[in-house]
Amino acid sequence: MAEYFAARGLPTPPELSANPLTRWRRLLVFAGAIAVVAIGLRITDIDLSHSNPDFAARVIVKLFQWDTSILTPQNEYETWWDTAEGLMVITIFLGVIATALAIIFALPLSFLGARNIMSGHPVTAVIYVLVRVLFTIIRSIDVLILVIITAILLGIGNAAGVIALAFHNIGVLGKLYSEAIEGIDPGPIEAITATGANRFQVIWTAVLPQLYNPYVSFTIYRLDANVRLAPILGLVGGGGIGLLLFQSINLLHYGAAGLIIFMIVVTVATMDFVSAQVRKKLI
């Protein structure tokens, strides 16, 4: 193929030229990848010889011998909210409230983090960079680490979980919202500005109508993710059903733990299905 161009003194189009990874280079890359894995295995010292298959098998069986006593109040001090299903409902709402709190902060911040809104003036351009850096820093701290911190600050419980989850989501939603703003058609902005409208009127009339769909879509996507994250937060002090799961495992109540895991799986799968349906309707 390349001869056709070479004979006419033309360069070969990139689509037709040979793969930049020639045979020996491909071998080199492959050998390199093997070496990295081999070194990694040595460093991490993965050793399966300490495992106890008989014990593991017994635990797995116990995980399926569900202890249904956690589904009813066990003494006069417990209410329905202390049962596993009550805690599951609380956990779902931890995700919902964390999302709602995050929206309140992410929504206004997203405009300050959108290049096309903020590029008009040096001062606003600096604000844009600062907001985007803030989003990145917030996102880079994992939720589990945040919960450990908030659990120390606020005590173990629902508050710690919600605040940590909401904080993390300000970074995630803020970035998603900002990018939605940057992706809008600039034409209407220009046209509405030309009518003599002020900046707020321009945003209200030319920008917002273009944002409803992406905002709703991103919000449902995060709501889904947050409900999925919420049960895990209890493991490090974030409250909800995760706390019960953690206690059950520590007390070797595998029957209870198995039932809780099953409930979480059902909840997350339902949430996943529902949010996919809603998002499909919107797009």
Binding site: S119, G120, D185, P186, G187, P188, I189, E190, A191, I192, T193, A194, T195, G196, A197, N198, R199, F200, Q201, V202, W204, T205, A206, P209, Q210, Y212
Partner: protein, 284 residues
Amino acid sequence: MPPILQLKDITKVYPSGTRALNGISLDIQRGEFIVLIGLSGSGKSTLLRCINRLIDPTSGTVIFDGIDVTRARGAELRRIRRRIGMIFQQFNLVRRASVFGNVLAGRLGSRPLWRTVFFRPTRDDLEAVFENLGRVGIVNKAYARADALSGGQQQRVGIARALMQEPDLMLADEPVASLDPATSHSVMKYLEELNKKDGITVICSLHFLSLARRYGTRVIALKDGMVAFDGKPAAIDERRFKEIYGEDAIEVEIGPERSEAQPMSATEAAMRAEAEDIEGGRRF
């Protein structure tokens, strides 16, 4: 009578270093229908946007009806913009909003903020919307979503939106470049009508000399950011044409009025091709 618009030595250099306008000076009289011509990248869009400050000129002065536009800030600038309507090649409608909402947006500059936020137009606004939709012949589309309309209809919505401002000056940035020849004439006729009946001064950039000759009272040609020709449309002969468009250019005709849409020739398509690097300078 003093000119409605005076441009004094307008220069625009984009941050990329592109010199889009290089010392443009023009006097535009009330009631003129100016057609701006020139190759893509000759500075037509930039010049139009410097007039209402969608783009800030690097140097020079724009005087609109005795007011220095280039010095205006904030509320004063918005008051000037209110008196200058603008329509665009890509129509620039809010696609998800209704035709009604788009036309009503033409009144934003003269209404308090709460009327925008709570969507409470005055009775006068409502009457004006339907009157202007009637003028461009699409009252029956008032409740349709803007993106459900054809290109020609969308441009008429654009004109109705601009008319809501009751402007003294209308800027039209290649208003028919996205339309077929037959629709082009219909849109140009609405511009001609508001020029003749309402006495609104029009500055319209076009790619087709045949349209320029048919509708313009005065043609201004830009080349490399400078005025290459300024005079009566009839004065553009073969020699002048080559000066403006270059030695290799061949004049192509857009079909006469009421003709069926004709297939575009290759030259025509090439002349329409847009490659203007004004992205970096857009702001609001």
